[in-house]
Symmetry: C2
Subunit: 174 residues, 2 copies
């Protein structure tokens, strides 16, 4: 099916909004699987909390679509998020020591966060150039949450899980 021409920056902005919208929707289905797969309670909680944040982020995107008079739904699937989730699903099934498994889940989740940071970063730039002040504030909130989620995952990785991975692995061989 022939796509509409992207004639203006606003067209591209809407195109990218639909992409991240679909990505966030896919993520709401993936996060409960990650929470279930995590061994550490802290990591489970982090995934559960990020699911709530993701739902709020979708609501903010809904507000933007409403203002733009655009439908938030799209038949276009975000292929990148699909790939990220496929990689995560494969990893969930890997046989691994629990602490090593958790460390790998964090790697996968941080890749997802970085996808979203890049997406919201570009959307903020577009909203700024287009003088969409209200959108910009909403998009900045989403961006800040993704950055904070990434930072939290880094802390979980650094303060314990990776070191536990070493200990846990040694214990497997004791």
């Amino acid at each position: 099916m022939k796509k509409n021409k992207l004639a203006t920056l606003e067209d591209l902005y809407v195109h990218e909004l639909k992409d991240i919208y679909n990505a966030e929707k896919q993520l709401t289905k993936a996060l409960p699987k990650l929470a279930k797969a995590a061994s550490s309670q802290q990591l489970k909680t982090a995934f559960e909390e990020h699911l709530e944040e993701t739902q709020n982020q979708i609501s903010r995107l809904d507000q933007i679509f409403e203002r733009l008079g655009q439908r938030s739904t799209s038949t276009d699937k975000c292929d990148a998020m699909e790939g990220l989730i496929k990689e995560g699903d494969k990893f969930i099934k890997e046989e691994a020591a629990p602490a090593v498994h958790d460390a790998g889940l964090i790697v996968g989740a941080q890749k997802v966060e970085h996808y979203e940071i890049a997406a919201y970063g570009s959307l903020c730039t577009f909203a700024e150039i287009l003088n969409f002040e209200d959108d910009l504030n909403l998009l900045k909130e989403n961006l800040s949450e993704e950055e904070a989620a990434d930072e939290k995952l880094s802390q979980l990785a650094e303060s314990g899980i990776n070191e536990a991975a070493e200990v846990g692995a040694q214990r497997d061989f004791d």
Copy 2:
């Protein structure tokens, strides 16, 4: 086919090294297509320069695999990079005003850079915990190059291309 158990953090480290290795290899095929699709000469040059950097990054990963006594090849495809590239390929084919098209290519490329920043960030953390000093230095070089490439793309987006997108689009309607 049954996967080997990831018993230790080093196993996970090698798993993630193979993932980014495959991702970089996929990227060497995608970057020339992005360079060809770009309208702005600056953007073409940025993609071409990043292809050279990517080839150097692969050489650094080869050195790490050699030191670890591991094969750098893997039958495991990086699904996430495949998805990112699929999204980029779709965008290349979109009918769009040249400046708008360039702005969209930058968005796609920044998502790729962020995937790699997340991957190398995790690998650096692992190399540090595993006390693989030589690896850490090589991985830090790759990480710095990805961060610099992302920064350069942000500059290209901010200093001209996005604003050109507005002008170019207005011209379409004159």
